[in-house]
Amino acid sequence: MAGIAVSTTINGDHVEYLCQPDEPLLDVLRDRLGLTGAKEGCGTGDCGACSIILDDRLVCSCLVLGAEAEGRRIETIEGMAHGDQLHPLQQKFLEHAALQCGICTPGFLIAAKDLLAKNPDPTEEEIRFGLAGNLCRCTGYDKIVRAVQDAVHVMKGA
């Protein structure tokens, strides 16, 4: 089966691929394009580990079809750092040890990036609400929240 030809933009690059009609965008990213940063935790939109930004909206890539990406703009975790320079959120996650096993981390970073793009100075409550679609079974969330708060501090000063 040939599949559906899709032309889209991922992290600023023009990308073309073929996919099946029922193939989730998450599978396209991971299995066809080698972008394995987004993880499959649940595959049903509950855990947020596959979070990406699609035309400026935070979404679960497991709940988007690959075919739907035609003509859209996708941002994944792979586009977050600039070369060797980590995004302040990535740097602060490291400094605060805001991860243990790391499966949820790309999703948290993308969700936090989306949150700060829309609300550059969130309260702790707004951070917790903004990241409520991402599940972490290791950290207990507190270190994640502290890391985001610290990143806010750094990004405001920048």
Binding site: C60, L63, V64, E68, G133
Partner: protein, 286 residues
């Protein structure tokens, strides 16, 4: 399996009407893709309606608002005029899922999924919202409560697609509100819920009301007797007592691990009462 992305509602209707086998409409996909993943549905045809002109817009019309079938719930919360006119509807839509799901899910999808526990539906019914349905025979408009007929089933005929939800301009001195009970603080499915929309006169007497209950029966309930309990009165203790009693009595809930029949009945009354108080305050009542 085929995936198509028609550019006009006529084309979408034609493809849907002419399809053999199982067809599915794709807007946000937050129900459809989960059902596909779980093996509950294997469509032969997926019709993505997001490229159809106008379906991704909220339009302010002479009569009120027209919310396209492909508008994600997140966008409802970003529309100041809609939030001001129908805060209860917007609150209900914003309760569906996480931020990730909000970026995709739609109120028309919530309606057509036909879950008795759909959050936006009781609020829409209380608001008197109507659904614009495009089909092979043209367009028709029905009350939102006429769409779900059983859990997972709608009254839509083959080839029909809901293209928009219409909300009238809110009458002066009116307010709406929606409340649900869930056993945790966020992101869960309603155990029972209530939407109330009411209008008062200059003296604070209720002149019009609509009360709807969710997760209280196989489909959303529009409880006319509950509205009658409020109309012609201020929102005094006697009226609120009567409202709660009527709502509890109107429920035909299921009994499961998330809530017993008695619990759902009681909480339906409590939520209707609290939603009525919020709606009354929003209408300017004291």
């Amino acid at each position: 399996m085929r995936y198509i992305r028609p550019l006009s509602i006529e084309d979408a209707v034609g493809q849907l009407a002419g399809s053999a086998g199982i067809s599915a409409i794709l807007a946000g996909g937050s129900d459809l893709l989960v059902r596909m993943k779980g093996g509950f549905i294997e469509p032969d045809l997926i019709i993505d309606i997001k490229s159809i002109a106008g379906l991704s817009e909220i339009r302010e019309t002479a009569d009120g608002f027209s919310i396209g079938a492909a508008v994600p719930c997140a966008v409802l919360g970003e529309q100041a005029a809609l939030k001001k006119a129908w805060p209860g509807v917007v609150e209900a839509a914003k309760l569906i899922g996480s931020k990730q799901v909000q970026g995709r899910c739609t109120i028309v999808g919530n309606l057509c999924n036909a879950s008795p526990a759909a959050d936006s539906v009781p609020a829409l019914v209380a608001a008197g919202a109507r659904a614009v349905i495009a089909g092979p025979a043209g367009k028709r408009t029905v009350a939102v409560e006429a769409v779900p007929i059983a859990p997972g089933k709608t009254s839509l005929a083959k080839g029909e697609i809901i293209e928009a939800i219409l909300l009238d301009s809110q009458a002066p001195r009116s307010g709406d509100a929606y409340l649900r009970f869930i056993p945790r603080t966020e992101m869960d499915i309603a155990v029972v819920s209530a939407g109330v929309n009411l209008t008062i006169d200059a003296h604070g007497v209720v002149t019009a009301a609509r009360v709807a209950l969710g997760a209280a029966a196989p489909t959303v309930l529009l409880v006319e007797e509950a509205a009658e309990a409020l109309i012609g009165r201020k929102l005094d203790e006697a009226a609120l007592e009567r409202l709660a009693k009527v709502c509890a009595g109107a429920c035909r809930p299921i009994d499961d691990k998330r809530g017993t029949i008695d619990f759902r009945r009681k909480v339906a009354g409590v939520l209707a009462r609290r939603a009525a108080l919020t709606a009354y305050a929003r209408a300017g009542g004291k």
